[in-house]
């Protein structure tokens, strides 16, 4: 590999073949270039009578804007195959600062192209910190095909990697809707994944569009509610999606809550059903602060035991009809 000054007007900055775009504007780079100029030479490859960029797009874009006539570059021969240039380029990227999801997606798409048989070298996966399964690599590569607006959102870190990978499989309209919602909710990665998975599963089960789920009146009312902050909206949307995903469990929980309230128990006494009402592991909790308090609580338990309401509560049936309500 040679080094030398390359006339600026012989470098074709429009050729972005080897670009791994970060989609994140960095004021730091521009400031550094202003103060010190280019410290690490960009790579260019001979192409016809000029050069194309192999590495250092931001540096070269910036130097072009500052009007430099010649730039000190590492010069790759035009005979080096594209695959080899890419491998060197990816290698340097993997040892550089952490990659954002948009950059990882671009690298994944290049690796799939360079290694069509699926034999992508294992060290790439390790350094990219992605699963070596081919379908995972494909999902990453699919992310790279998103439009620049979506890639920007993903690169910014507003959308978690796992949520973005799930969204890669969605239709463009639903994906765009979900990305907008998630960016607005600013929730944690695990909650993003939960929301995306819930929408996906409801859509598959009910055979309805994913975007429709987010465009339904209730979801839209939550998302547009001016009086709620993003945390409250997130919680309301999660509750709404849970109701849609588990309608009968949710209905039973609701009924249980109503029946419990109707029993009029003192605040110190709690009846807790088994998780998801599975099995017989019911619990009764009695909090007390004194012997007198305990006596009062035990009396309340006695009254409860003699009422019809307890059996109905545990069976999840209406005490009047004997049938399931709701």
């Amino acid at each position: 590999m040679d080094c030398g000054f390359v006339p600026r007007d012989e470098i074709d900055l429009r050729d972005r073949t080897f670009e791994i775009r970060s989609y994140v504007e960095s004021a730091d780079i521009a400031g550094s270039l202003r103060r010190f100029g280019i410290l690490v030479p960009p790579w260019v490859q001979r192409s016809g009578r000029g050069y194309i960029v192999a590495d250092g797009f931001k540096r070269l874009d910036s130097s072009a804007a500052s009007g430099e006539k010649a730039i000190f570059c590492r010069i790759l021969s035009g005979t080096i195959p594209r695959r080899d240039v890419w491998l060197q380029r990816i290698e340097t990227k993997l040892f550089g600062p952490g990659l954002n999801p948009a950059e990882k997606a671009r690298i994944a798409s290049v690796l799939i192209e360079l290694f069509p048989s699926g034999e992508v070298p294992r060290q790439f996966f390790d350094r990219l910190r992605i699963s070596p399964r081919r379908e995972v690599l494909h999902a990453w590569a699919k992310l790279a095909s998103f439009g620049p607006e979506l890639l920007q959102v993903i690169a910014s870190g507003d959308i978690a990697e796992r949520a973005a990978l799930e969204l890669a499989e969605w239709d463009p309209e639903s994906r765009s809707t979900a990305l907008t919602v998630l960016a607005e909710l600013r929730c944690s990665a695990s909650i993003q994944v939960e929301i995306v998975e819930r929408i996906n599963e409801i859509s598959l089960r009910e055979e309805t569009g994913r975007a429709e789920i987010l465009h339904c009146a209730e979801a839209e009312a939550i998302l547009s509610a001016g009086e709620m902050n993003h945390r409250q909206k997130t919680q309301m949307l999660r509750d709404h999606l849970r109701r849609l995903r588990f309608p009968r469990l949710r209905e039973r929980e609701h009924r249980f809550g109503e029946q419990l309230e109707a029993l009029g128990l003192p605040g110190s006494l709690k009846i807790l059903p088994p998780p998801s009402f599975e099995g017989n592991g019911w619990r009764l909790e009695l909090a007390f602060t004194s012997a007198e308090d305990l006596r009062g609580g035990v009396d309340a338990v006695r009254t409860l035991l003699n009422s019809d309401g307890l059996d109905s509560l545990m069976a999840g049936v209406s005490p009047k009809t004997g049938g399931r309500t709701g």
Binding site: L204, R205, E278, G279, N280
Partner: protein
């Protein structure tokens, strides 16, 4: 039903001279046979491959029940693993290190262990089946295993054999001396589920015809609605199968029927999503059960079971129907009693053997079991 005969049989040298491999060679004339010292773990599944190995573990296992739910007390005669019927919900897909069809070639060891165990425990009844880790009859046209097992159990006073399948490969059962000790059993499902989730299994018509064929030859029958899967209009789907079943066979020939709503280890979900993208079954209302498996929310299970048991009781009020891996609360709500009240589920099934198959090695009971 279309047979998908293995095209390549990999045999471990230790069992290459055994009777099972001899049957396979005779019945798979077009297959390529390879002999190896040891069959290695395969990273990928190949449905055309059959492996025959020497099994070094226990052939007789207990039903993998857990303490949280009532278990049938069934015992498994472990003669092989895996299945090529490719049902979307099948747990065998999760056994990733042994993805290919596999048979145990040391059949003499298996029968020896079985004889010794039955002799050692001669004072009790043994309900033994082969359909836990593979389909009992899928490879029977090539192995002829049923021609060994059925006569073996015919001479065993304290045991019954249940051959559970989703195929109609019952040709080998014809003409065997079974002495009323073999139950031919089918796993059944609603037509909608069969079409979508059991693509390579026999059709319902084929399964019911096969059942009738066996009943006509004196075999007792059993049916398993497991997994019951929620789908649009499931009541009419499952109701129709029950109607067709009771039209096809005399209910008095049926020793038992089991009902089990779909449940699965959590890791199966991603496998179903990956291998059966069209399947909608992972998107039901599942919660985590007491045994860690995902199960339909209990009210849904109660709906399934109440519907099914009502139809079954209308056809035959004395037929022993049971729930597979359910707790007291579900039993009581859908069946109206708990197995505990009747000595336990295993006792209920022992009594079904006594009442229907007239095999009785237990002390006489006065209370009828329904």
């Amino acid at each position: 039903m279309i047979r998908r005969a293995p095209g390549r049989v990999i045999v471990e040298s230790e069992v290459a001279g055994g009777s099972l491999v001899a049957s396979l060679r005779a019945n798979l004339p077009h297959a390529v046979f390879e002999t190896v010292d040891r069959v290695s773990e395969q990273p990928c599944r190949d449905p055309g491959v059959l492996e025959v190995v020497r099994f070094r573990g226990r052939f007789l296992k207990s039903c993998p029940g857990t303490r949280h739910y009532h278990c049938c007390g069934y015992r498994i005669l472990h003669f092989g693993t895996q299945c090529t019927l490719e049902c979307s919900y099948c747990i065998l897909q999760a056994y990733l290190n042994q993805p290919n069809l596999r048979l145990f070639g040391n059949i003499d060891d298996m029968l020896g262990e079985l004889s010794a165990d039955l002799e050692e425990n001669s004072g009790r009844l043994h309900r033994i089946g082969t359909g836990e880790f593979t389909d009992s009859m899928l490879l029977d046209p090539y192995t002829g295993l049923s021609r060994l097992l059925v006569p073996f159990f015919a001479k065993t006073p304290n045991a019954v054999l249940e051959l559970k399948t989703k195929t109609d490969f019952i040709g080998n059962l014809d003409g065997l001396e079974h002495n009323g000790h073999t139950i031919a059993a089918w796993s059944l499902n609603a037509e909608h589920v069969r079409r979508r989730e059991e693509p390579f299994a026999a059709t319902l018509k084929e399964r019911l015809n096969a059942a009738r064929f066996c009943a006509e030859r004196g075999y007792y029958l059993a049916f398993h609605f497991d997994p019951i899967i929620e789908h649009p209009d499931w009541r009419s789907g499952y109701g129709e199968v029950l109607d067709r079943l009771f039209d096809a066979v005399d209910p008095s020939r049926i020793v038992w029927m089991s009902l089990g709503a779909f449940r699965f280890m959590p890791e199966l979900k991603s496998i179903i999503q990956e291998h059966h993208g069209r399947s909608r079954i992972p998107y039901g209302e599942f919660i985590r059960g007491l045994d860690g498996k995902m199960r339909y929310f209990r009210d849904i299970r109660v709906e399934f079971y109440s519907f099914m048991i009502n139809k079954i009781r209308r056809a035959d009020p004395h037929l022993c129907a049971y729930l597979c891996m359910e707790g007291d609360d579900i039993w009581l709500e859908s069946f109206g009693f708990s197995p505990r009240e009747r000595g336990g589920l295993d006792r209920m099934l022992d009594h079904a053997v006594r009442d229907r198959m007239h095999i009785d090695i237990t002390a006489p009971e006065t209370q009828p079991f329904v």
